[in-house]
Amino acid sequence: MLTPLLILSGVGLVMAGLLAVGRKAFAVDVDERQEKIAEILPGANCGGCGFPGCSGFAAALVEGKADPASCPPGGPELAVEIGAILGVEVEAKEPMVALVACAGGDGESPSRAGYLGVSDCAAAHAVAGGPKSCPYGCLGLGSCIEACAFDAIVPTSNGLVMVDPEACTGCGKCVEACPRGIIRMVPKKRKVHVLCVNPDKAKAVKAACSVGCTGCKLCAKQTGAIAVDGALASVVSDSEEIPGSAALACPQGSIFDGGVYSLPDWLSGSEARADFSRRSAEWKKAEKERKAAEKKAKAEKAKEGEA
């Protein structure tokens, strides 16, 4: 019984010794900080940092070529951890998520032709400008879904796609994947969005889509955070809260108020739309009355002044 034990442990020892010697002889210098960082990175290899994969990012961090806060999936917590390993101070970044800025589904912006070919947005866009009435709107073929490493983009029932802000890490891959540039990065905390990218004038927009922005500027009158460039409104500032009235003022229903509706309901639910029309009408009526009262008060004041 003893002999086999001795032999085995002898063989084991000899090989262990050889290995130890080998490790010394063939030692390769790897910055251990790099290994540590690589361990805490998400490992999704999404490329959001701009380096080839997580290991590439780790190497770039150690060499001082990368900003610790540039890993979108990891967020600010990870940035702090990386900073601790590297021994540098890290400034927290505002968390961003992707937003598909189009609400013109099959019902709002129907297809103008039958499309036959590769099921890919870029491919469809290149064929006669795409089969959708709106030449700027979401084609819904899901090139962004393919590009997303986190399954954060899902198709809606009416031919659109939407981003789940909870699953989105803000890596920005979908922004590159969208051939029409509909997807943009927005602060995660922002509630109100203009869901249209069509820059055409009112007549063309109305012909293409029933929920497209016509550039009427009514929203901009409600808040300084929304500005109209040409014939398209967009949120230009995140420093102030956007009032719900900005959405209610829109005659097209192009502005989505996340404080009142959920995005899936808004995109594909006629109930949310109906509710919005009702609230919008009420608001407009109230606004009219308020204005009339104001005018009256002013007129009276002026009268008083005269008198």
Binding site: R112, A113, Y115, G117, A123, A126
Partner: protein, 352 residues
């Protein structure tokens, strides 16, 4: 304008070729040889053909249903696989073994790879080789063809009862009668046993025993030429396959005629004809370009002969085709045609 126009990428014209038509044409080209085998062996041959074709189709439909894909039996590929598999099997093979073969061919060799066009190995060949290794007994019991008696190629035939025991020829218990195939004779007893056969018409017309599709070289050749005329197969693989078998056999025969059989014998016995025209030419599992096709054909021919002459199995076509299937990605990688614009300038212009 009331209706919507269709938009698609150019071109807006199509030549009308269809995968399904190709598959059915190949199937049609095999029908004469299949009919000949039924004439030769009777019901046992028909039973094998029907069983493998029906089981192949059924397995294809089931696996497509499971994969959530639309059923595409009309594209003919499952029926063709079943027919080719049937032609590589001996007549009278039990139906359940045919079913196993169809399963391996259609499900294991094709469906799990993603279906038509994605498989790496010829499905029918995979099915046959699997059966040969798993059921060597039933796969090597050969029925005596019509028109021959108790003697076939100067050898006595053996009679079996239903349980597989050897009984006297002519007794009531006879269930199957077998005799070695020409290649079996060559492998077991040497070249002198087939010397007479090599000169006879039997091997050309197909008056011999063997698998269903190993019999009529003539009808298979006609089927192959039909495919050649219809431009469904190119000459490269069949010619290089058959040619290399013939050259290999001619060389060994010239070196030692007492030991080796001649080229005609090797070309017209066993599976060379069906293999060269119908199996090695399977688009999915053969090279795409002319040079690669020739390399592939020569490889099939040489490996067939190496296995026939020096390995344990008397026949090597199916092994050879499977082995060469594995080389296709490498062959394709190194035999790509030279793209336009690389030819040397004859005159004028600069070399930039």
């Amino acid at each position: 304008m009331t209706n919507k126009l269709f938009v698609s990428s150019s071109p807006h014209a199509h030549g009308g070729a269809s995968s399904a038509r190709i598959m059915w044409t190949v199937t049609a080209a095999l029908v004469p040889a299949a009919a000949w085998s039924v004439w030769l062996f009777g019901i046992p041959a028909l039973q094998v053909i029907l069983a493998t074709v029906l089981f192949s189709a059924a397995f294809e439909a089931i696996s497509q249903r499971l994969a959530g894909k639309p059923t595409s039996l009309t594209d003919g590929s499952a029926v063709l696989t079943g027919l080719i598999l049937a032609l590589t099997l001996p007549p009278g093979l039990p139906i359940w073994i045919c079913a196993v073969g169809a399963f391996v061919a259609v499900v294991v060799a094709k469906a799990v790879f993603g279906g038509l066009g994605q498989n790496l190995f010829n499905p029918a060949m995979t099915g046959r080789v699997f059966l040969l290794i798993a059921f060597p007994g039933p796969l090597t019991r050969w029925l005596v063809p019509r028109g021959t008696g108790a003697q076939l190629f100067d050898q006595p035939v053996t009679a079996y009862d239903a349980s597989g025991g050897i009984v006297e020829l002519g007794s009531k218990a006879v269930d199957a009668i077998t005799a070695a195939t020409p290649l079996g004779l060559l492998s077991e007893r040497g070249a002198h046993a087939v010397a007479a056969l090599s000169q006879g018409q039997e091997i050309f017309i197909g008056q011999m025993n063997g698998s269903l599709g190993e019999t009529s070289g003539l009808l298979l050749l006609l089927g192959g030429i039909f495919l050649l005329i219809r431009r469904i197969v190119s000459w490269h693989i069949p010619v290089s396959f058959i040619g290399s078998v013939a050259i290999f056999a001619a060389i060994t025969y010239a070196v030692d005629p007492a030991h080796y059989a001649g080229p005609a014998f090797h070309v017209f016995t066993g599976g060379v004809m069906i293999g060269a025209w119908f199996m090695a030419t399977d688009y999915v599992t053969s090279p795409m370009f002319p040079l690669g096709k020739i390399i592939f054909g020569v490889g099939c021919g040489v490996l067939t002969m190496v296995i026939r002459l020096w390995a344990g199995y008397p026949e090597g076509v199916s092994f050879a085709v499977l082995l060469m299937n594995a080389t296709v990605p490498i062959i394709d990688r190194y035999t790509r045609p030279k793209k336009f614009g690389l030819r040397r300038l004859t005159k004028g212009g600069s070399d930039a």
